[in-house]
C-alpha cells in the first residue's frame, strides 16, 4: 500500500503551516468541494474513511450499539448537509468530523442523563488492537491502527492525571465539577490538568506528525 492511497487527514496534527499561514489539506478540500456539489461518490469515500473510527468513538461514549448507530447516522447526515461549515484552513477533515460526531454523542449522552466511567467502559471493551470489522476497508483500518498507536504513544508522554482528566471530558461527557468529584481533585487542579494535558498532547502529536 502506497502512502498516497491512505487518508491524509487521519494524521492527528494541526494543518501544516507555511510562513505562519495554515496550509489547507487539498485532499480534504477537494473531497468537501465534491460533496458540496452533491457528489454521492465523494460522500461514500468520506463515509468509508471515517465511519469506522467515528463509530468506535461514539460507542466509547454511549456504550449502546443501537444509539451509536443512530448518532453516527445523524452525524453523517449533518456533515453532508453542512459541508459549507468546513474550513480547510482551520482544521483537517478528520478533526471536523470528530468534533461534529462527538458533540452529537455527548448531546445524546447528556439527554439521557447517563454518565459512565471511562475506566469501566474500557474494562468491558475488546482489545484496542483487535482486528477491525469485516466491512472496514483494510487500508483505512491500517491507518487507524497506526494513528491509534501514535496517539497512545503520545498519551504515554503526558501525565497520567492529565490524561485521565481529558479522557473523562472527551469520552465521559462529564462537566468540570463532575470530573473534579470523580477524581477527588479541586476544580482548579482539574482545569490545570486539562490545559497542560491538551497543550502537551498538541506538542507531542505535532512532533510525531512532523
Amino acid at each position: 500500500m502506497q502512502p498516497s492511497n491512505l487518508p491524509q487527514d487521519a494524521v492527528p496534527s494541526p494543518p501544516a503551516t507555511r510562513g505562519g499561514v495554515r496550509v489547507p489539506n487539498e485532499v480534504d478540500a477537494d473531497l468537501v468541494r465534491r460533496m458540496s456539489s452533491g457528489d454521492e461518490g465523494a460522500f461514500t469515500t468520506f463515509y468509508d474513511r471515517f465511519a469506522p473510527g467515528l463509530f468506535s468513538m461514539i460507542y466509547a461514549i454511549l456504550h449502546d450499539s443501537k444509539e451509536s448507530e443512530d448518532v453516527l447516522q445523524e452525524a453523517f447526515v449533518q456533515m453532508w448537509k453542512r459541508t459549507a461549515t468546513y474550513d480547510a484552513t482551520r482544521s483537517s477533515l478528520f478533526t471536523w468530523a470528530v468534533m461534529i460526531a462527538r458533540h452529537k454523542a455527548i448531546d445524546r449522552l447528556r439527554s439521557r442523563q447517563r454518565q459512565t466511567r471511562l475506566s469501566e467502559a474500557v474494562a468491558n471493551e475488546t482489545d484496542p488492537f483487535a482486528v477491525s470489522a469485516p466491512s472496514d476497508r483494510a487500508d483505512n483500518a491500517l491507518v487507524r491502527t497506526n494513528e491509534r498507536e501514535r496517539v497512545r504513544a503520545a498519551l504515554s508522554q503526558i501525565g497520567e492525571a492529565q490524561r485521565e482528566a481529558i479522557d473523562l471530558a472527551f469520552f465521559g461527557g462529564l462537566t468540570q465539577t463532575q470530573i473534579s468529584e470523580r477524581l477527588g481533585a479541586p476544580l482548579g487542579t482539574v482545569k490545570a490538568r486539562i490545559r497542560r494535558g491538551l497543550l502537551a498532547l498538541r506538542e507531542v502529536l505535532g512532533g510525531v506528525a512532523s
Binding site: 492527528p12 496534527s13 494541526p14 494543518p15 495554515r22 456539489s37 452533491g38 454521492e40 460522500f43 461514500t44 465511519a51 469506522p52 473510527g53 467515528l54 463509530f55 468506535s56 468513538m57 460507542y59 466509547a60 447516522q73 453523517f76 447526515v77 449533518q78 453532508w80 453542512r82 459541508t83 459549507a84 461549515t85 482551520r90 482544521s91 483537517s92 478533526t95 468534533m99 461534529i100 462527538r102 458533540h103 452529537k104 448531546d107 475488546t126 484496542p128 488492537f129 470489522a133 469485516p134 466491512s135 487507524r144 494513528e147 491509534r148 501514535r150 496517539v151 503520545a154 481529558i166 471530558a169 462537566t175 486539562i194 490545559r195 491538551l198 497543550l199 498532547l201 498538541r202 502529536l205
Partner: protein
C-alpha cells in the same frame, strides 16, 4: 498567550465551558486570530483522542441507511412543492442582491470566493410542525443562513398570542447547553407572520428550530410550551 486564556481555550475545546462562557469565548475567538489558531490546534489534539477508542465493528448495512437518508434529505431540503419555491427563490434573490451591493462596495475578491461555492449549501431550510392540539395545522418555515448568521421565519395558521405573551424562536445548537434565543414575535389575527431574525449567540450547527409561547418580552431560557418544532 497567558495561562488563563489557554485554560479557557482547553475547556472550550472539550465543551466544558458554561453556555454563557462558551458564547463569550466564541466571540473572542472570532476577533483574535492567535487565539483562534490555538483553539484550532487544541481541537486537533482533542480529536486525536478518538483514535484511542477501542475498535468496534461497524454494521455494514449502516452505510445504506445513511445514503438513503441523505437522498431523502435532498428532497426535504429543496422540495418541489409550490409553497417552498418562493422561499428558495427569495434566498437566491437575497444572495444575488448581496452580490450586487458587495460588488459596488469593492468586495469583488471576497465575492469571487463565494461564487466558487454552492450558495444553496449555505442556506438551510427547515419546516416546523405543530405541537398544539387546538391548532394542528399551524406550521412555519425557517430559512437560515449560517454564514450570515441570520434568517427569516414565516408562520401560518398559528393562533394569535395573548397580549401578555409572546412567541419566541429558538435555535438548537449542540455547542450550547440550552437553545439559542432567536427573538420574539407576534402573530396577526389571520395567524400569519413573517420576520427576519438574528440569534442572540453565534450558531454553528442549527440542528432544529422551535417556537415556544413565553411571557411578554421573551425569556433567556425557554420556559413555556413548545408550539412548533422542526429541523
Amino acid at each position: 498567550m497567558n495561562e488563563q486564556l489557554e485554560e479557557q481555550a482547553s475547556l472550550y475545546t472539550l465543551g466544558l465551558l458554561a453556555a454563557d462562557e462558551a458564547t463569550a469565548f466564541a466571540q473572542r475567538i472570532e476577533a483574535d486570530p492567535e487565539l483562534r489558531a490555538l483553539v484550532d490546534d487544541l481541537d486537533a489534539a482533542a480529536a486525536a483522542m478518538a483514535h484511542t477508542a477501542p475498535a468496534r465493528p461497524l454494521p455494514p448495512e449502516l452505510r445504506d441507511r445513511v445514503l438513503a437518508q441523505i437522498r431523502s434529505e435532498k428532497t426535504v431540503a429543496f422540495p418541489r412543492r409550490s409553497n417552498w419555491l418562493p422561499w428558495a427563490l427569495a434566498a437566491c434573490l437575497a444572495l444575488s442582491s448581496a452580490y450586487l451591493v458587495a460588488e459596488r462596495s469593492g468586495f469583488r475578491k471576497r465575492i469571487a470566493r463565494l461564487e466558487q461555492r454552492d450558495i444553496f449549501s449555505q442556506v438551510q431550510i427547515a419546516s416546523l410542525s405543530s405541537k398544539l392540539e387546538n391548532a394542528p395545522n399551524a406550521n412555519a418555515v425557517v430559512v437560515w443562513d449560517e454564514k450570515k448568521q441570520r434568517g427569516v421565519l414565516k408562520v401560518t395558521q398559528l393562533p394569535r398570542n395573548e397580549e401578555n405573551r409572546d412567541y419566541q424562536l429558538w435555535l438548537v445548537d449542540p455547542r450550547y447547553k440550552d437553545p439559542v434565543n432567536g427573538g420574539v414575535f407576534h402573530v396577526s389575527n389571520d395567524g400569519t407572520m413573517s420576520v427576519p431574525f438574528k440569534p442572540a449567540s453565534p450558531v454553528r450547527e442549527a440542528q432544529a428550530f422551535a417556537i415556544s409561547l413565553e411571557r411578554k418580552g421573551g425569556v433567556t431560557k425557554a420556559e413555556g410550551p413548545i408550539v412548533l418544532l422542526g429541523k
